[in-house]
Symmetry: C2
Subunit: 187 residues, 2 copies
DNA sequence: CTTTAATGTTGACATTGGACACATTGATGT
DNA sequence: ACATCAATGTGTCCAATGTCAACATTAAAG
């Protein structure tokens, strides 16, 4: 899976072939089928790891700023952005319509839910602190998720002017956009 | 291209083959190469059409509510969401990292810019009306774009609970999320 | 020492993207 | 009327790929 992930990021998602992975690992071209039913199954495994890393990053961001939900959310946004920029192809796998989102891969769905929960915890903590308005927490978490997600996807897809390709610039822009979005969440 | 687009939405983006398209149109499997250099080139053409339709939808939404920028933005969001839900695979093509975003396909980039401009016009009109705060319009447009984009991508990827699959539910949820995001843009 | 599950190997097959040489055809200039 | 030529389509061929089936190895378990 490590080899597959590396090859995935080196080339595009469509260009990843099981045979390449097998060759990189140094086994025959059908050996991967002993570990993964499908090509899709391997991809689902990689995507699940991506969600796990995302959840870990968000939780870590929350721990960094105890008692300050707005700061936690901002920090989580920066982590989200960083992860997307560093693993664009993997993110494509996680959020693109490449994999079925039904219960074909229970691990995948579960990992995704855990990541969303870690974000929801930040929102709820902010509500308890009185920093965020006391509306439907799920809905507010979805709003925050959508904002960060959309921004990072636009960046990863290079749909923002190429001027803003320096990490520092991205950081500033992320802060600006998220600050605006935070306005709507505050109490 | 129409046949290709239909096949694209019927199956996944990876499953689309030029040969299928050729068969559907009733020509030999190499005939498409007279019109498109590449498979990628055909996909780029489809993606460009997608951006054109998006731009048209946003402009139409703006015309629907003259003088009310907030309402225009909300309407544009609903159009965006509708378009994404109706053409998920095409959107995948437009925003996924499938196609190179440099100047390999000038039409593609241009169509994308036009769509973004149509959104930016709404923001600027809102600023002129005094409805939106008078900060960097480009940045505010990016914020709005990110929010709508993220939300619709999450929906299209079925990352939101399956309970919310009815069109009416989606409409309500979109309104709720966008209303929250609008807060940060208002004067 | 046998059994068995895990893992790997070889070989085959269909599908696909793409290159190439060749045929058809319709408009154009003489 | 006739030659020219660009646009379009056709058939053939090849390499890469996903997947399957039959067979080999090997290490743990009884």
């Amino acid at each position: 899976m490590a080899a597959a992930r590396q090859l995935l990021e080196e080339n595009s998602i469509a260009a990843l072939s099981l045979r390449q992975v097998a060759k990189k690992v140094g086994v025959s071209h059908t050996a991967p089928y002993r570990h993964f039913k499908d090509k899709e199954s391997l991809l689902a495994g990689i995507a699940a790891i991506g969600f796990d890393e995302l959840a870990a990053e968000i939780s870590k961001a929350a721990d960094l700023h105890p008692g300050n939900a707005a700061q936690q959310l901002l920090e989580a946004g920066h982590c989200y952005m960083k992860l997307v920029m560093n693993n664009p192809q993997c993110v494509q796998l996680m959020f693109g319509n490449v994999l079925p989102c039904d219960d074909t891969y229970p691990n995948l769905r579960e990992s995704g839910d855990i990541a969303f929960d870690s974000l929801k915890r930040i929102i709820e903590e902010g509500q308890n602190q009185g920093a965020f308005k006391a509306e439907d927490g799920e809905l507010m978490a979805l709003t925050a998720w959508a904002g960060i997600h959309g921004l990072s996807m636009l960046f990863a897809g290079e749909h923002v002017e190429a001027v803003v390709s320096l990490p520092a610039e991205i950081h500033n822009l992320t802060t600006a956009v998220m600050t605006t979005m935070l306005e709507g969440l505050k109490a």
